[in-house]
Symmetry: C2
Subunit: 238 residues, 2 copies
């Protein structure tokens, strides 16, 4: 009997997730600029847990339980919050051992819309190899859920999907053309990922806020060897 290869698929934006059946699947959520890069950076640097929430009000309600409030709207820090959406803020010594509640434009929505999945893990270029190893050791079909930009496709999240597919493609078959396209983008990007991602519309928007260092850091591979997992409402590293 020939073993069936597992399937991998890419959901290009949360706006298309109703077309993917996430039940029994392993979902990798990705929002490179910058939500999931922040989560990985923080959890790898001693943050205790990260709770994604939909609204500013919900986030502030966690402060009463001792949480740090983090997040952005349209790329900018929310005035009432403690920190914005930079991986360097998440790696600050003062965040060690703290619980963070976070609300962002796109990334937290992608997590919220993935809850039918068997398991949700948090991907970024910063923990690419750890995610690839985790996927390879899983018995589940996989969907890479790109946060995109306000419902539309974005370059950086799909390029990450291509990078991950490139690492695991021997053990997975592609379910749709989105995987093939993502892999094509990665092939064009991988010789100079940062320069490739700088072409994206979102990088262009974010450059106006003077955060090139954030963009550069989020484009680096394998700084951290962790796999953040959503358990209930919290993302932690097991």
């Amino acid at each position: 009997m020939i073993a069936m290869r597992k399937e991998i698929d890419v959901c290009l934006t949360p706006e298309l997730v109703h077309l993917s059946d996430l039940k029994d699947k392993l979902v990798v959520v990705v929002d490179i600029f910058r939500a999931t890069s922040c989560m990985v950076s923080g959890l790898a640097s001693g943050v205790e847990s990260i709770t994604p929430v939909a609204t500013v009000e919900e986030c502030l309600s966690y402060r009463e339980q001792g949480h740090i409030c983090a997040g952005e709207r349209g790329g900018k820090k929310i005035p009432e919050f403690d920190i914005g959406n930079s991986p360097f803020e998440y790696m600050d010594d003062q965040m060690r051992g703290r619980n963070i509640a976070v609300s962002t434009t796109n990334g937290t929505l992608a997590i919220k819309k993935s809850t039918d999945a068997a398991q949700i893990i948090i991907g970024s270029f910063l923990n690419l190899s750890a995610i690839a190893d985790y996927v390879l050791s899983s018995e589940m079909d996989v969907v890479i859920h790109c946060a995109g930009w306000k419902g539309t496709f974005n370059l950086e999240d799909t390029t990450f999907a291509g990078a991950l597919i490139d690492r695991v493609s021997d053990k997975y078959q592609f379910k749709t053309d989105a995987s093939l396209m993502a892999l094509s983008l990665w092939q064009l990007a991988n010789s100079d990922l940062y320069q490739f991602l700088l072409k994206s519309a979102h990088a262009e928007r974010l450059k106006k806020f003077g955060i090139e260092e954030d963009l550069k850091f989020c484009s680096e591979l394998d700084h951290f060897n962790i796999v953040p997992i959503l358990n209930g409402k919290k993302i932690t590293v097991s």
Copy 2:
């Protein structure tokens, strides 16, 4: 005063079209395998008009008015219909001067979902240069509306979007990353378009029906120098 460059955008599937404001825009609808390739082939070969309709029943009701019924579901000819979804059927001598009503899985939906546009034109590789010239002479912003596959992204329609953007990019700025990605696909595809498109999931599905000749023909550039335009319910060549 610096003239503002017009904008071009790609809607990757009809499922995302609510995120594009089509008002006052020129929309290029594309369904390479095979609806729009058929329409272009037929109209360039003497078909009088093509009326896209949503359902089999609506299509059959046009037969009472003397129309040819054309279309497919899941890539296969609908049994009660006169012809299926092959460009060679549309180019048959018996179609000269005839009006065709057509219902297909994805292409006719993309047309129906574009009706907010100022103008809808029908694109394919077979009339790429004619479409590019038309776009260049237009004063409108442009959205390339890819029919996709049952709501999801597909390779062939987005690669066409990239080919068209490549021809007109001097005069247009990209609205979102979808344009950049489409252009990347075209750069990978253009040295051997047919081989590139054969990798697509839809080509894989269609090969099972033994229609490689259709796929090959639909991957050829500039067979026809026409721009089909939707006028009311009918697509015609002015």
